[in-house]
Symmetry: C2
Subunit: 433 residues, 2 copies
Amino acid sequence: MTQATQLQTKSAATFRALKCKECGEEYELKAMHVCEFCFGPLEVAYDYDALRRAVTRESIQAGPHSIWRYRPFLPVETNQPIDVGTGLTPLVQANRLARRLGLKKLYIKNDAVNMPTLSFKDRVVSVALTRAKELGFTTVSCASTGNLANSTAAIAAHAGLDCCVFIPADLEAGKVMGTLIYSPTVMAVQGNYDQVNRLCSEVANTHGWGFVNINLRPYYSEGSKTLGYEVAEQLGWQLPDHIVAPLASGSLFTKIYKGFREFVDVGLVADKHVRFSGAQAEGCSPIAQAYREGRDFVTPVKPSTIAKSLAIGNPADGVYAIDIARKTNGNIESVNDAEIIAGIKLLAETEGIFTETAGGTTVAVLQKLVEAGKIDPDETTVVYITGNGLKTQEAVQGYVGEPLTIEPKLDSFERALERSRTLERLEWQQALV
Amino acid sequence: MTQATQLQTKSAATFRALKCKECGEEYELKAMHVCEFCFGPLEVAYDYDALRRAVTRESIQAGPHSIWRYRPFLPVETNQPIDVGTGLTPLVQANRLARRLGLKKLYIKNDAVNMPTLSFKDRVVSVALTRAKELGFTTVSCASTGNLANSTAAIAAHAGLDCCVFIPADLEAGKVMGTLIYSPTVMAVQGNYDQVNRLCSEVANTHGWGFVNINLRPYYSEGSKTLGYEVAEQLGWQLPDHIVAPLASGSLFTKIYKGFREFVDVGLVADKHVRFSGAQAEGCSPIAQAYREGRDFVTPVKPSTIAKSLAIGNPADGVYAIDIARKTNGNIESVNDAEIIAGIKLLAETEGIFTETAGGTTVAVLQKLVEAGKIDPDETTVVYITGNGLKTQEAVQGYVGEPLTIEPKLDSFERALERSRTLERLEWQQALV
């Protein structure tokens, strides 16, 4: 690339430093994620005065139909980021689900159809790999519960980057296949995610690789802010009253919050008190447990749940998630595996959206909070659905019934139809008893 | 609904009749698909003068980010169609695949991430179910090779319509699960698609159901025109030089053609000679065979291919597809199952797009046509990818390698990495021999 081209593709950067979330120490914008003084996590800091001057509703709407319409809020310098159509997923007005639950204004933010690999991870990976290229990395990597591996492998293939991903060895078949197909190196680690993550921290120190959620984590995690920006824009430039989102590491939750605050700070939306509620699976609920017990520290657990994409026993941003739920008057709740499956089915039957176990967890927690009177029917509530059900089919296998097998003849069909209607009537009568 | 609301939600209809493609006989706009005089297929006819007056590039761009921005070109009356974000999928500039094949301007129209159910069928179903509601149907149905069942069940759930779908009993697990999850009635017919289709024609006559691809077929099939409109708009309001699309019934192919012609006719794009090439799987290639042999009739075959979504042995629009390929100086080619798998992998490795067997077929045919000199490297070529690989995982299982299983320890990782690099070198050396 000539110097002239480099100049053209570089924009006026609005991000200015890495800053420790604990002690405030600032660092150069390189690949690092832990404060050298207090070991706190680093976060990207922006020049909000510059942002306020640079960005309007109109300038955003004139941008691409992807997360890159919010580029000034993202930590990359280039004007030509890796754009594979990621983001601006539908905000669906979920009237049928709302009626079933007794709510009035319910929306689904549907990242089950995010591009290219059908989870919210495409947002963070698009940002991380764009930044990785800027920092000169040629091999990218990640520690993943599945969706992140899919996304890193796919977007690395598109961008022509070498890729090595690390996953727990017991992942769902769809998530393994959905990674292998892009031909990265795949390391299946005999251990849980927290062990995978520890191993990757060691590898990051010995190999010169860009780990999207380790040494590139400050850049990577900023991608989740777009889930806040988009909801605000899609609601007609206003904030909702209440959001419900899943909690794995807790990062997503904190970044939606940061996204809303930034939009208020730069004057794109009016200020509003938004309640933040988080969802965990009972079999891996260290954040929900700490919240329930009023603790401000999270005790690690050994995960055992069908919601494998949420199975992080030692969540890096758990305490920050608890802080947000408390100060916004939200909640953190957990549900068991049976409730997760019921949540997947409820969303599919009412809204035609097939989500994975993480989404089932979020819908089930939504239902639990409504039933407990912890969501007001009049609140404009947004539920974040973060992944696609085709990747975790084994979780619902055995719970969705079977097709009626018939011969290719009219009378065979009529008999089957009659049987199924009789069954439905019986189920209905039993439900009435 | 009050009469006032009805008036508000009804628009000035630009479609005026059903018209026989063979004899030109016209019919009222009801649920029917076969000419009563000559048994030819019926198609929707429009008032193009009204369209020319009503539609501009600006009016389209001001519309929703979905197929419904082209509503005046679609056969529905309502201003409030069922809009679940279907359409406007990315047109990806496929530079890495282009380089691998020796092309210069290659684009992928990526309906593997279409919403809500990840195939182009969401387009036709969104149109068919909107029309079904207008015509007063409360139960919708279809004969499907899988993707159509997914889409009909999901969108019917969202719209609150009863749903009964018919599939061949031997479909891929992902397509069966991807239907059952929405809780429709699913009839698994012990026979191939053509037998399923015949049975459904009988059912359509005895039950008062709206079969999207039988009695609603004239409306339904118009939805595929949006794959033509979108490519024209996304190329900056111009047509490509060459398109490659899969052929099952042949309908998609003919409707992309119709879409391009309509955009020329109403003055939205300049006229251009676009070459149309079609892709079939060798194990079900009645259209390719007829084309190769110079016939103007299609002889039905018994399908035997991994590309189950293309396994229509008696394609309703086969002769029209042949006609278009001939008059545009295109081609119709077929590939075997091994080539289909290689096509899936090639697209994933170069562009990060995981498609199903139909997409593998299309990429493999693209490669075959390039190698035979039948696509000029300078042509702006668009390849239509119509479905997602997560639904047909069994097709590539065993062909994508396995993860490297390691312990959660640095030395276990280093040994595995060394082994995989040695293997890569060996493969590279063998490739050179």
